[in-house]
């Protein structure tokens, strides 16, 4: 069979075209058809970016949000890993405690958000706590899974060569867990972002929640779009960072 000519355009390029097309439609549609109180063309949002970054209070709110995400993330990962190891390494603890953890994981956390704010106030503490409450669970679950998947004959082989328990842990269990650990980190980051942003948006008297409410109530779509775009960019960057780390450290894992 004679070779068919491949597609005219590689998928990556086609994707970029599609995105550009979307932006063009948005620009044209918003410019000529939309009520400026509700919708603005992307060009205006880009202009508003400058205005956003010029206001030190907004910049500070964004900075605080990043701080909250990073803190919540670090806490989730460290505490989550410890709990995950404690629960997952021993069969009995796993079958007893893990179901409880999974139960907690399944609760709709949006309902207890007001509780967090009541307890911790409207400052960063509540948002960090809520972020941890979201992020800790995927870390625990993936850590447990990582420990669980260790094939027993790797351990047997090590012991037969005279490895002590500590050596077994550091040279077999721990390295084996690393891919799942990074997967847990990636999932944890996504969860922490959700938790922190949810909390920030809820608290409309401070932080970025204040500004989203302000821009929405004063019908300033360019500013709102700009702010959201900035936050989205931060979220995507953090997510991508975790995903790249996960890819890098999972290379030895068979498909």
């Amino acid at each position: 069979m004679n070779g068919r000519r491949g597609p005219l355009v590689s998928p990556g390029v086609a994707r970029i075209f599609a995105i550009i097309l979307l932006f063009v439609i948005w620009e044209v549609g918003a410019r000529f058809y939309a009520d400026p109180l509700f919708l603005c063309p992307p060009s205006q949002a880009v202009v508003a970016l400058k205005h956003i970054f010029a206001d030190p209070k907004i910049v500070n709110a964004i900075r605080v949000t990043i701080y909250e995400v990073v803190t919540a993330f670090l806490l989730s990962v460290s505490v989550g890993m410890v709990i995950g190891l404690a629960v997952g390494l021993q069969g009995f603890t796993k079958s007893t405690i893990l179901p409880i953890i999974l139960l907690l994981y399944a609760t709709p956390q949006a309902t207890i958000l007001p509780l967090f704010v009541l307890s911790f106030g409207i400052g960063p503490a509540a948002k960090i706590a809520f972020g941890v409450s979201h992020g800790i669970f995927p870390v625990i679950v993936t850590t447990v899974a990582g420990v669980q998947n260790l094939r027993p004959h790797l351990l047997t082989a090590a012991r037969s060569m005279g490895a002590s328990r500590v050596q077994v842990f550091t040279s077999i269990v721990f390295p084996h867990m690393i891919p799942s650990f990074f997967t847990g980190m990636r999932l944890g980051m996504t969860a922490v972002l959700l938790g922190v942003l949810l909390a920030e948006l809820y608290v409309s008297t401070a932080g970025i929640g204040f500004y989203t409410r302000l821009f929405a109530e004063s019908f300033a779509p360019p500013d709102l779009f700009a702010l959201i775009a900035v936050l989205a960019a931060i979220a995507v960057t953090l997510n991508e960072l975790c995903r790249t780390m996960e890819r890098r450290f999972s290379r030895w894992h068979a498909a």
């Binding site: 079958s95 007893t96 399944a106 709709p108 309902t111 007001p114 996504t190 942003l197 989205a232 979220a235």
Partner: protein, 253 residues
Amino acid sequence: MKFKMRWPQRLIQLGVLIAVLGLWYWATLPGGINQLLLPPPAPVFRNFWNLLTTSSIWPDLAVTVREWVTAFFIAAVGGCTLGYVISRSAYAVRVFDPLLAGIYSIPAILLFPLYLLFFGLGPGSKIAIGTTIAFFPVVLNTIAGLSYVDKAYITAARSMGANDAQLFWSVMLPAAFPVVLTGLRLGCIVAFLSILGGETISSLAGLGHRIVSLAENMESAQMFGNILFAVLMAFIINGVVSYVEARGRRGMQ
């Protein structure tokens, strides 16, 4: 994750539950934790029982359920349709599948303030965020289900003379069904959770709104009762939807 649960584990879990309840009771005795922050168990459960047995929660419940069902319906129809259209062309799949997966990785809750601007504080903004977030698992799973049908089935069908229509309806659709069903389950659950989130952030009615206004009015016992109710609802939905999915999968396997 499956594990063998025998009575020692069950006993310990029961023990944990009792310990938590006991601790709760003890901590909220007079002189303990501020009752506004953590009310004692008795009024909370009394409240919870009230919610279950009276119709006080029904108006708000109706609002939330209506938002949820609408959002899921739109996401399901839209997602399946778009997923089907994209899956028709392997090239389209290669272009759009990573794009959609990438967009899904942006925390969609960020769109909520925009929806508030657009649709106001009423159900519209909640339906919008629910639809947006539920759309992705549905469309991604529909694409996956339809594009990754085992080639062996298609070869066999073609060798027996199946035309395009027969191939689609009798082979690809049933083969894709379990995966699409999973996408629908995820979409259903995620729609409910994101609508609760939206109501919490800003709304005029609904379950989330109830909890927020009770918090603002410092009605802790009632708030806790309502939280328990919402958690119960989430568990029931999860259970029912998972059951439906499992039945659906079994019927097709």
